[in-house]
């Protein structure tokens, strides 16, 4: 049974999706999604335990041997992402029942869960697969279900946000497709391990260079790297609350994982970071993302848009980490992927509660919420401090590791940008706290307590972010394991 875990964790959510549509019951659809997410989490945990000692699991899909067949490869580089996606999936499942009932009309709810199941399938598939073309297919499964999920947002503006996301996302995925096609044209294989073996012989080939650029630009769109981030604010801010929680914590992160896999596991660091100036380009774009997106976040008047812009800035931190191509840098990138996903998931969960109870998430609506909704506000403050990187939080740990990696590599300018960006994040988190605590609402309104499941999911994420800040050993060991596989320098 355990031999089939790599396939099962993808197949279970995939099977749950049509069942959600066929059974047409809101409760059963919700239970199916919850069960699929829990099953995926169990599979990912068992796999993580199996590969913890450095073993690599190869699974030939359908018994077709690679390189002809599609292979799933589970190693220490992808189990952290698998666990992250599945765990956020469970949190989103707990969160979404009450949240969705208030936001989406009843007849569409089973379809909504079907889309969520497909999204989970795609994300886990991208992460588990060892085949370049298969990764593209899963990327499109994720993207198509994301477009549909975003379009179900509360306001009609969600429709245009979803459409723009569809156009930009499809261009991104098609770029990846071109890149994979070029790599296939020069090597004749699509298996990642096989590609990695054959590519070093033809370094310097112009088609290969084009392949790298197409794949990287396509994935940079998917992970919303500045200046290719245009789709993100609308998509995150206008989507239903539960979708914001799930997408913000997983979608861009999985694209980042895929980029790392392509950079280190397919094209090879010698080509990408040695012969091509990806380090320099990555660092410049990361710095711009940190500065510009943080500054824009400071001027947002809507809490969800503010969080979305902050996400773009945080992608900058992650890109700065892996652009160094050192084992410390990749560790920092992984750690920030994990920590930021948890923190941003918690903040979007809080934003969803604000939307549910106050009707909108404009900062002016949030005036005085420190008194009317003290617990939700406390969660925003705790997670917000994590976003800034105040010492006993998860955000501090990953920023510290990133700063160490930057210092070790002598990148002082990037370090300065990191500090400025952190100050800017203090400004935008401060604006939220100022609105909630120091401003008073004109009339005092009694606000009903949020549904228990929603606050439970939010607090679970907040507490995880605090635990990762106080005892960072476990996420750090996952990140180091991943970087030792990718960079190949065991720490």
């Amino acid at each position: 049974m355990t031999a089939h875990l790599p396939a099962l964790q993808v197949v279970i959510p995939l099977l749950a999706a049509p069942l959600c549509v066929l059974l047409r019951s809101r409760t059963i659809a919700w239970l199916l999604f919850l069960a699929a997410a829990v099953a995926a989490l169990v599979c990912a945990s068992v796999l993580a335990w199996q590969v913890a000692d450095g073993e690599v699991i190869h699974y030939a899909m359908g018994g077709w041997e690679p390189p002809a067949g599609i292979e799933y490869v589970i190693d220490r580089a992808n189990v952290p992402v698998l666990i992250l996606v599945a765990a956020i999936g469970v949190a989103a499942a707990v969160y979404c029942r009450a949240s969705i009932a208030a936001e989406i009309e009843a007849s569409r709810i089973p379809l909504f869960y079907a889309c969520l199941c497909l999204n989970l399938t795609g994300l886990l598939g991208i992460t588990a697969t060892g085949d370049a073309f298969n990764a593209f297919v899963f990327l499109e499964i994720t993207s198509l279900s994301s477009y549909a999920l975003v379009a179900m947002g509360r306001r009609r503006r969600a429709l245009l946000a979803a459409f723009q996301y569809l156009i930009v996302g499809t261009i991104g995925a098609t770029f990846v497709l071109i890149g994979i096609g070029l790599a296939y044209a020069v090597t004749g294989t699509l298996n990642m391990a096989d590609l990695a073996q054959r590519l070093p012989d033809i370094y310097g080939n112009r088609a290969l260079g084009a392949a790298v650029i197409f794949v990287f630009v396509g994935l940079a769109i998917k992970m919303a790297l500045f200046p290719l981030h245009g789709w993100l604010p609308g998509a995150y801010a206008e989507s239903p609350s539960a979708v914001s929680v799930f997408l913000s914590a997983t979608n861009t992160k999985v694209a980042i994982y895929l980029l790392l896999r392509f950079a280190f596991g397919v094209f090879g660091a010698a080509l990408v970071f040695g012969r091509m100036p990806i380090t320099e380009v990555g660092l410049v774009l990361a710095c711009l993302a940190m500065l510009v997106a943080s500054a824009v976040a400071c001027f947002q008047s809507d809490f969800k848009y503010l969080l979305a812009w902050s996400s773009i800035a945080q992608v900058g931190y992650i890109v700065a980490g892996f652009s160094l191509a050192t084992s410390d840098g990749v560790t920092a990138a992984y750690l920030h992927v994990i920590n930021h996903a948890v923190i941003k998931g918690a903040l979007f969960a809080a934003a969803g509660i604000v939307v549910l109870r106050l009707g909108a998430a404009r900062l002016s609506d949030m005036a005085g919420m420190g008194r009317t909704m003290p617990w939700t506000f406390a969660a925003i403050v705790l997670a917000g401090l994590g976003l800034v990187g105040v010492p006993p939080t998860a955000g501090f740990v990953s920023k510290w590791v990133l700063a160490e990696a930057l210092i070790a590599d002598g990148r002082w300018a990037v370090l300065a940008v990191l500090l400025v960006s952190s100050l800017l994040s203090l400004v935008y988190v401060g604006r939220v706290i100022e609105a909630g605590w120091f401003r008073r609402h004109s009339e005092s309104v009694a606000v009903e307590r949020p549904p228990l499941t929603m606050s439970a999911a939010m607090w679970a994420l907040v507490l995880v972010s605090l635990v990762f800040g106080l005892v960072p050993e476990w996420p750090l060991s996952l990140a180091e394991g991943a970087s030792s596989v990718l960079v190949g320098v065991a720490k």
């Binding site: 477009y147 549909a148 503006r157 156009i167 499809t170 549910l356 549904p451 228990l452």
Partner: protein, 140 residues
């Protein structure tokens, strides 16, 4: 080289025309048409990769020694399916946008959003069948 690889030039031009249409047009349906051209360019690129000189269609037949490479063709069949799904989803969204705004021009949609924001009118997604959207319908 240019002569032998003319198909790639053709594909490249098709892709760029498609991409230009996506960027330059404000009409959502025209954007989708551009997106389709762009994708079809990529599909043809893959199909061209599988062509073997003097190769026949890859169906086993007596007296035929050279076949075209079927793998890129099979791969692109998957991508075509994805493309169809993307187009239909895009068109469905365009219909919903038309129902919600009465236009499918991007600038007009944004204008009407701004106007609605200034009026403070409700601008919810969907029609009258949505009830209890703003209220606290969901119990714990």
């Amino acid at each position: 080289m240019t002569g032998g690889h003319y198909i790639f030039w053709f594909v490249f031009v098709l892709m760029v025309i498609g991409l230009y249409a996506v960027i330059s047009h404000g009409n959502l349906v025209k954007k989708l048409i551009g997106l389709n051209l762009f994708q079809i360019g990529v599909f043809m690129f893959y199909i061209a990769l599988g062509k073997v000189e003097d190769g026949r269609a890859p169906i086993v037949e007596e007296g035929v020694e050279v076949y075209s490479h079927p793998l890129p063709h099979v791969l692109i069949l998957t991508a075509i399916v994805v493309g169809v799904a993307t187009t239909s989803l895009g068109l469905a969204l365009a219909i919903r946008i038309y129902e919600a705004y009465g236009t499918i021009e991007e600038d007009e949609v944004i204008e009407r959003d701004k106007a609605a924001e200034q009026d403070g009118t409700a601008e919810l997604n969907g029609t009258a069948e949505r009830d209890g959207v703003r209220g606290g319908e969901a119990g714990p």
